[in-house]
Structure formats: C-alpha cells, structure tokens
Symmetry: D2
Subunit: 288 residues, 4 copies
C-alpha cells in the first residue's frame, strides 16, 4: 500500500534554517514559574536548590551538545550559545530550539528529586519554552550576554532588598514596593545596609552574577589570543580535515564542563578563554 | 543601573507567527529512539508499555493545552493539531513548538517509572524534537492525518512480519529482510499467516491504527453537522462574547480526554465528532 | 579559473516560498505619488488619464502572467491575485513580487506618453513597491478584495465631496476638511448634492468602484457552478495531463483580458465567473 | 461606512525584516534576456550600449537611494549593497527588493532610447526580478562581490573566445563549443591569441571587470583607515546626533556617483575607499 496519495502534505513544511555565520542563542524560559515557586515553596529572594537544579540541567545540555560553546543562566531562564560556524541540524531553528528545550526539560524533571528530595513533583509539571535568536558579530553576542547579566544584577539587587525589608524589617509587600519605587542602585544598597544590616557585596556570587557553563581548558594570558578577531575573520563553516575534526571532538568530549559565577561583561573573562569564541579547544588543565 | 546600553539586542529576535486561519500541526519525534529501544530492551515489533507511556504524555499535553483539538501518535512520534482559529502565543512557531515539546518531555520522564517500574531511566535521557507545519484547508489537515495513519499501517505490517519471521520462524535479520524485499501488503499478510500462523487482523488496534487523543463528547449522526464546511467558512478568529467563551472553556475543561485506536482516514470518524473541526464543544456524554 | 572559493556565499540566500494551497496577493503601491500628482498636475479628485494608465499597465501584467486570475486597482495601487494552486517560481515571494513590480513599472513608464502625450516624464521617475500576502480560504481572499473596494468607495466619496467644496463652492482646504470632519456617508452624499449640486450616483463607475482586470469568458447562471467550494476542495496543486494543461493554456492565452468597474463585494460577480476561483477557463464568448 | 468588517485581512501580512547588523545585497536579474538579446540584435560577445544602459539605470538607483554604498554589475545583472547599519523601510525585504527593482526598471525603460536610438522598444518589455541576501561579515560581503567579479571574468573569457572563433575564424556554434569544452583559462587565452589574433589583455575593462558604481570621494592611503575592522566593531545602528546625520546626508548627496571598471577582489580597492565599508562620507575630491 503506497502512501503517495497523502505524501504531498510533506511539502507544506517551511524551511527555517538560520542565517549562516551568525551566533545562535537559544534561550529557555520557565513557563509559569511564579505559580511554581509558590507551589513548591521556593525560598525568597533566591532558592539555592532551584538554581542548582537549573545549572545541573544546563550542564547536561552543554555536555550532550558539543556545538554549544557557552551558556548563561539566571532565575528560571538559560541561554545557550551555538558557535557561528555551527551546522548542527542544518541550523534549522525548530530542531535546535526543540532539542535544547527537550533535553533541558528532561533533565530538570529527572534531577528534581536530587535537589528537592523532600518535595516530590506533581502535575502540572515544570516546563519551559524556547526561542532562537541570531547575532551577526562578536560584539552583538557579548552585548546579549551582558544584557542578561546586567538584568540578573538589577533584579537580584531589587529582590534582595525587597525581601530583606519583608523578612528582616517586617514590612508587607506593598510597603516594601512603595519604599523601593523610584530608587537607584545606590539607594537600594544603602537601604539594605542601613535598615537590614546586609552588605550586598557579601551576597553569594551565584545570586549576584548568575551562572556560566562552559568547557574548561587552561586559562591563557589575556591579549595573547585575539579570539574575537579570529572569529570575525571566519567567513564560512571551517573545512577541517577529518582527523583534525576528530581530534577536536575528542578534546571537547574530555573537557570538564564547569559552572562558574563570573563577570562575563568585562573583557577579561573572554580574553582568558579564547576557545569560547574561536571554538578551538584549549589545553586540558593539569589535574590539581 | 539602566540596562539600556545592551537592550538593543532584543531587536534581533525575528517574528515567527504562523499564517492566520490555517491548521497548525506540531509534530514531536523521539531523538535517537533506535538506541533507546535497545538500551531499555523495548519489545519487538511493538512495546505496549512504551506506547502507553507516549499516549499518557500526549494526553497530558492535550489536557493542559485546550487549543489542541486532536492528536495522533504512532511509534515514537506524536502530532498535535491546533485549531485554525487558535491565537495561543500569537501563533508564534517557537513558543508553540517548545511548549508542546517541553510538556510532552516532562511528562514522558515523570511517567516513565509508572510504565517501566523495573527499568529505571539513566542518562542520556529520552528527548524529543519538534516542528510546526501549517495546513490551509480541512482537506490538507485530513490528508496529513491520513498520511501518518497509512504510515503506521505500512510500518506495522512490515515490522510484524519481519519480527514474526525472526521470533517464530527463526530467520536472522538479513534473511527476513531479503524475504520481505519487494513484497506488497497482500504478500506480507500471506507470509504472516502461512509461515507464522498469525492473522494480521487479530493484531491489537493500537498497533495497527496508532492512537488518537481528543476531548470526548456525545457522538452525532454523521451527515447532520457539516463541520468541515463550517470550519472552511470561518475566515477569521471568532469573536465570541466573553460569557460564551467562558462557557465553552468550562465545557472543554470538563470533557474527558480519551485515547482511542480508530480509523481516522474515513469520513465516519470526523462526521461523528464535528467538534474536532468546528472547535465547538459537543454534548457531555451521559455517565455509563 | 574556478569560482569555488567564493561560491559558498550562495548558501546565504534564504528560501522564501509561500505556503502551498493559499491565494497569493501581490499588491503594488505607487511610491511618493502625492508628490508625483503635484508634479504632473493630476486632476482632482480623480485623473482619468492616470487611472487608465494604471489599468493599461495592469492589463499587461495579467496578460503576460497567466497564473494571475484577477487584479483589482484603485488610485495608485493594484492587487494581483495568483490562484492558490499556482506553482510559478516555486511560489518564491521575492520572485513573484519583483516580477510583478518590474513588469508593471516597465509598462507604466513605456505607456506614459500614450496617456500623457503633453506631459513628458522627467526624473525622478514614477516607481512602485510591492509585497505578497497569502490568504488560506476563498472567504479570506474575497474579504481582501472587498476591503480594497470598500476603501475605494470611502476615499472616493470623501475626495469627491472635498474637492467639490473647493472647486464648486470655493472653500479652502482647511474649511473643507473641517466641514467633513465627523461626517458619515449619508452626510457627504447630502453635502455633495445640496451644496454642490452633484449626485454621487452619477459619478463614473471607474471612480466609485475601481477597476477589475480578468480574462473574459461567457458568464454563467449564478448558482450553477460552486467555484468557491470547488476551490476549497482542491487540496494540492492539480496534476493535469499534459494535453489538458496545454489546452487550458491555449484557451487562457486566447481569452480577452478586460478592464471592468463592477461590484466585487457581492456574490453575483463571482457566481457568474466561476473561472476566477476554479482556475478552469470558461467558454470563449461569441463575437458580438 | 466603516471598513472594519474586512480589515482583519491586514493581519495576514507576514513581517519580513532582515536580520539587523548584516549587509544586505539586492540583486537584480534580467528576465528572459537571451530572447531580448536576439530581439534587439545585441552585439556578441558584449553590447556596449546594453551595458551602458544597465550602468546608467544602476547609477540612478544608487543616487536616489543613499543607503546603497556600492553596486556591481555584469551582463544583465546588478547587485546593490545596503550598509549593514541601514534601517531603510525597517529593513523589510519586500520593500527593499521591490523599490530597487522598480527604480531600476523604470530607468532602464526610460533611458532605452538614449542608448538604442534606432531600436525602439516594443512589448513584451524588458523586466527584472530581484532578491535580497544578508551577509553577516565584511569578509562574506567581499566574498560575494568577488564571486560576481570572478564570474564576470570566467564568462567573458569564454564568450570572447567563443564568438571570436565564430566571427573571426568562421566556426559554427557547435564547433566552437566543442573546441572550448574542457579548456582552462590559459587554453582560452592561447586560442584567442593564436587563432584569432586577439590579446585578451587588450579587451575593454568594462567587459573584463564589469562595472562598479559608488559615491566618489578622495582616495586615502591604503592601510591608514581600517574600515573593515571599524565596520565589524559597529554592533548596532549608529545613534548619530541630528546635525551630524544631516551633515553626512548633505555630503552624500553632493558626492558624484561614478561608474568604474576596477578590480574589487583585491584589498587595494577597499583600502583606498574606506567610506564604502564605514559608511562615513570621505572628502569631496578637488575639481580637476
């Protein structure tokens, strides 16, 4: 029995390949996490277990998809960066987004009991949506990453102060909101310190900076490798020899995928880790 | 601290709203399920537990997303149909696909232990990719559904015969493959019956027809409601009164989401269930 | 000398095929025609020569591109409708739009001196932009056509009254504008009749209805051919025999392309001309 | 009379804005120019009048659309490059393509009689199609331009030799084709020289190199301005002061738009004209 009579419907699928030679960011966002925070009584302003679970799921995504060079997470969102030379799934947006979202979700659900051993999941389950955005230049990409980290800082300073006013000072939500309305960063720092006795600088880096996930190689002296320029010079998908590609693949698979809480806005982070932009694996660090 | 310096990167996100007044099919496909079948020793040609798990996950998706009017699953794939008047997420492809994929994945992982109590999951976890396709007319949509069900039939007849030759007749893979090469349906039916003593007609409907998931209302006399024509006549998203919309929403949420194994190629299925195409909830069936 | 080193740039061209089985409308709009009207002293409220030139250019477009079943023009815009089964240029948006725009522009420039023999063109020349929009159903398409014709009516009634107040009654622009502000159709009809002695009904049909361009065959009795339904039933590009296709092509090429000024909102127009929706050529009308 | 009932059809227009911060190339191609060449008896292998007409039309396009920084033409095609910071028409593909195609076509038709005074146009008229392609980096853009110029060289060498064999040596088409089959550039140069007495080097630059159209400013010492790097560093549409933008606009409008026949593959061309990549107008050259 042939299927040809109906097969014409395949032709209705529209291509959605993303422009070559651009950085692809797939961002995953928690769906309805305000409700979820309440349901599972996440701690305020930050629930360490919830963030560790996000990071653990993200680490699996980065590990399983070597085309991802770096990921950055804050709160219930995670951004995964595919190198601009990436040709995975012919760069089809729906394949890239759905694969990242599915892998992330699967691991979030699977690892839940590790991070919340006393709070079992129940339906409706946590889920995530996703989207892909292309950035043509290294500057655009770094500005995207900076945007997310600045957002992390702004939100965390606000939330830390807001919840301190409630938890330490006993204000109600509305009073805290009113007090903070119109304040700038310096004001919040001062309120936090003077009224609640909290020095924002002493807050945990994971809360202040978010989390960055990447393959770890030996740091280089900043300025010795201009990876950004090298990346820009790359006009087309690299034609490597098979053996070279194989070698890099092996190196990548052996690299440790780490979760750090660093400043990714300044040049230093990128200068010391040229492999993030060049996509050439670095030296494997010596065992400590 | 303002974030305006970096916020321009938001403008790089390209819109991906799907054409209005078209049926949206989001299809979810298992990633690397050949390996997965081996890893968890799925039974051949069909593993009932694996199909029941797929169906259970799909039922949650249909239940949680009322804009889905019908879903059809076979093997490791599931197609979810959004009514052509749907405006969920402004019809953005990435939101629709990622939400379906994430909800499906979350429930697949969560429900795994119910269907495979003695085979715990281990990394790498099952995951799914997804895509969205638009169909302008009821005929296109029904042809899509028919395409999937014919595919189910073709594959199942082949697999049933192939594995019977191996499991009953003791052939090896290659011999079975060669024997079936070039055969048509009638040949396979005969081989199955004559050599393996299996009447294909007696196989389970779930294997022969796949699974169809939908909200269940009272069947109508075919021919009394021309839902297809009504659907075609609908040119724009319906402007309902709030109370009417509220009423339909309530009816939908009370409807039982069923899993059936029916012929969805013939007119009868659609004729008896006009709500699938019209998106107007039917009568709640009497309790048995 | 091989060109392979640079040829990779071809892969950056993104596909832009329009969804199959949808009606494609390519609309052409005059660029900066307000200035152009002033430069060439177009008559107000309507310049018959300018409209005739638009119509003549549109007639060439319809004649040269047989995939266009109907076109509708008003003022400095023209909408060309490609049948939903059309596969010209693999339905690539940029090819369809640019071909229509270029053919239209070429003929507009070429025919200018026929319609404006005493007003030669001078740079900057008239030009047009264009866009393609898909409509999934006959209802959507007819609503699009109705939208343009209602717009024609609204604008023409306003302009006719506005310019009558100026030309007949001697008001200045501002006074005329103020007088018309907030008026409905009935008011304008009355102002026109009572103050300016003009009965709007006696205005030329080309001004009141715009222009519709199509291949002319013998009219049929409305209700005898349900072309809309037939068109909806059509799910995929028709697979005709070569000879049948050849026959239809010949019939189409012999058909006279006419310019009429008819009501295209009511059913009658479409009922009498089933070929517009079915894309099957009708009977060639007898010579008068 | 309100138009609201039908206005919903506007929502079917899909956005088609091109990715920000990428170079946009709009390429215009003659439709059916093989036929046209025969109809108007274009000279072989190159018709100087036809090329001059293409160039004249392209010069108007570049002059009227200041967002175009450079254009390159060969045979019946012309590529127009919009600077990557361009925001014209919100970067909508259909507006950009149709505007370029329409302006080009209008001027081609209008100027025809200047270049072919003794060969009047007759229907069907010359027309052009067009498409837009995005290039993320300066390297991609220059590779695109190089691709077109290499193509010009390859085709022109072939055509010059082919037609010399026919016109000088008296071969027929087939014999010339067979003689050239499998030859490389050096072979063709030799055939041309030895058999036909033609030194390819002495051919006109317009035939060998094609034509490049741009605003002319004073050349700079190559290496003193790294425009490519400056362009890459530009991550977002420049926020200029109004007066600065006004000043640049004036400078651009005063610049002479020239047609040259230069090597655009080597660095020198771009190094001497940093304004092509930086989009900052250079110094107006002194009057000779």
């Amino acid at each position: 029995m042939a299927n040809s009579k109906f097969e014409y419907v395949k032709s209705f699928e529209q291509p959605d390949s993303l422009l070559p030679n651009t950085w692809i960011v797939v961002r995953v966002d928690g769906r309805g996490f305000t409700k979820l925070c309440a349901k599972y009584a996440f701690k305020k302003p930050n629930d360490r277990r919830a963030l560790d679970l996000m990071n653990a799921a993200a680490r699996v995504v980065v590990t399983e998809i070597p085309d991802i060079t770096i990921a950055y997470g804050v709160s219930d969102e995670y951004s995964f960066v595919f190198h601009k030379s990436c040709t995975l799934f012919e760069r089809r947006a729906s394949k890239l987004v759905s694969t990242v979202v599915s892998t992330f979700t699967a691991n979030y659900i699977y690892l839940w009991s590790t991070y919340f051993p006393e709070t079992p999941l129940s339906p409706p389950l946590p889920s995530f949506d996703g989207r892909a955005v292309c950035y043509p230049s290294v500057n655009n990409l770094r500005d995207y990453m900076s945007w997310r980290q600045v957002d992390c800082h702004i939100n965390n300073l606000y939330n830390t102060t807001f919840w301190a006013l409630i938890q330490v000072e006993g204000l109600d939500n509305r009073a805290a909101e009113e007090l903070l309305s119109g304040t700038v960063s310096a004001d919040k720092n001062e309120i936090l310190f003077k009224r609640c006795g909290i020095n924002y600088n002493n807050e945990l880096e994971i809360y202040k900076k978010g989390s960055v996930v990447f393959r770890d190689y030996e740091l280089v002296e900043p300025g010795t490798h201009n990876a950004a320029e090298a990346a820009e010079a790359l006009a087309e998908p690299v034609q490597q020899s098979k053996s070279q590609a194989e070698k890099e693949k092996k190196k990548r698979s052996k690299a440790r995928v780490v979760i750090e809480h660093l400043d990714i806005i300044k040049d230093e982070f990128w200068g010391q880790r040229p492999w993030l932009l060049s996509n050439k694996p670095g030296k494997t660090p010596k065992e400590p």
